[in-house]
Symmetry: C2
């Protein structure tokens, strides 16, 4: 019943994690058709146990999404010695991580689930995904950006705006098209271009916010 957002790792027993894995698998393959019976069967446990552990269907869904979303850990970049080169590499790495995650099947499924959920006045899943997706990136990227600015390598007024522009340059229309099921965007199709796109986005970002650029 509590709608609290757990940022800390909820401690799940291995058995419970197996159940969550089963639930996630079902989500990914069956889309929205996640039924308690199906999870119970897949995980070889009883429905009663599910209800005991997770309260209700929403609880199971929340636990699954949260548990999985928390797994997406962006590699922390080294900030200690910030040269133009390392800054660029860091930002490029962020772009690569962001795009790789967003393109992944699990991410698409989780986002779809959360959006579906949000279409019913229940925003908890949306918040979790938001928290572990865009906002997590923002939290990690912002310090880098600000360090870059302090080192006179970047120029911008609001790190928030800089971050959001970065997001836009990297993600473009890929995410919404994936969520909408655009068949023209196959997994392999995108992955083949990730490096090119990451490079292009990084270039554009530096064109806009590099110290020598005017971004009036």
């Amino acid at each position: 019943m509590p709608v609290a957002i757990k940022v800390s790792e909820e401690t799940f027993t291995p058995r419970q994690q197996a159940v969550l894995t089963a639930a996630l698998d079902l989500l990914v393959e069956n889309g929205d058709g996640l039924t308690m019976t199906a999870v119970a069967r897949r995980a070889s446990c009883s429905k009663e146990t599910l209800y005991k552990w997770f309260g209700d269907r929403d609880g199971l869904l929340t636990a699954t999404v949260q548990w999985q979303a928390a797994k997406v850990r962006m590699p922390v970049v080294d900030r200690s010695h910030l040269s133009a080169r390392t800054l660029r590499l860091s930002i490029e790495q962020f772009a690569r991580d962001l795009l790789t995650v967003i393109v992944g099947e699990v991410s698409v499924t989780l986002n779809r689930t959360a959006v579906t959920h949000a279409a019913q006045e229940k925003d908890s899943l949306g918040l979790i995904v938001l928290e572990n997706g865009p906002l997590a990136i923002r939290r990690r990227l912002k310090p880098i950006l600000e360090a870059g600015r302090d080192a006179r390598l970047l120029r911008f007024e609001s790190s928030e705006d800089a971050y959001r522009t970065f997001f836009g340059l990297v993600v473009r229309d890929v995410q919404i098209r994936l969520l909408l099921g655009d068949k023209a965007l196959t997994q392999s199709n995108i992955e083949a271009n990730i490096e090119v796109d990451v490079k292009a986005a990084t270039d554009q970002f530096f064109t806009l916010f590099g110290a020598k650029a005017s971004n009036a």
Copy 2:
């Protein structure tokens, strides 16, 4: 049963349009909870009529989304005399239209519905939204961009890439956050900033693709 995508305006009688309006209203206010009974009651018609007209629930949903999506008509910009000033105004207008639409409650609802639908192997709604959303903009913007390039006002290699970057600069993370139900983005909150954001996005686009810029 046919999943054909009707691009042409399906000819609906006024009565049928009233029904579709009712369905859309319910969709917007009740989120996903669109039931045939509710539509029938709201539109003061019988369920039998609904099934007669639209076949099944999916048919009604499709008709609603398609009918509404087709209403989003981007104003056609004048291409006849293309100066640096008119080009900029055109692109700025596109940015404004795009952002205004995407931020709208109806758009959010339609996109959520389509995403939910796409989460169940049914991609028809997603295709419709895609077709009338991003792709419609692309179809209209691309000629402008190419005209700008022909007039040596813009510089890019692929108009597709230019368009997608434009999309990213304008939309950034707004759409996904709205879809996920981010409470921090209230309607008024966004609308107050639309002009600023539009201006910024246009500036950035010209920085990246203006004739004098390097977009290596």
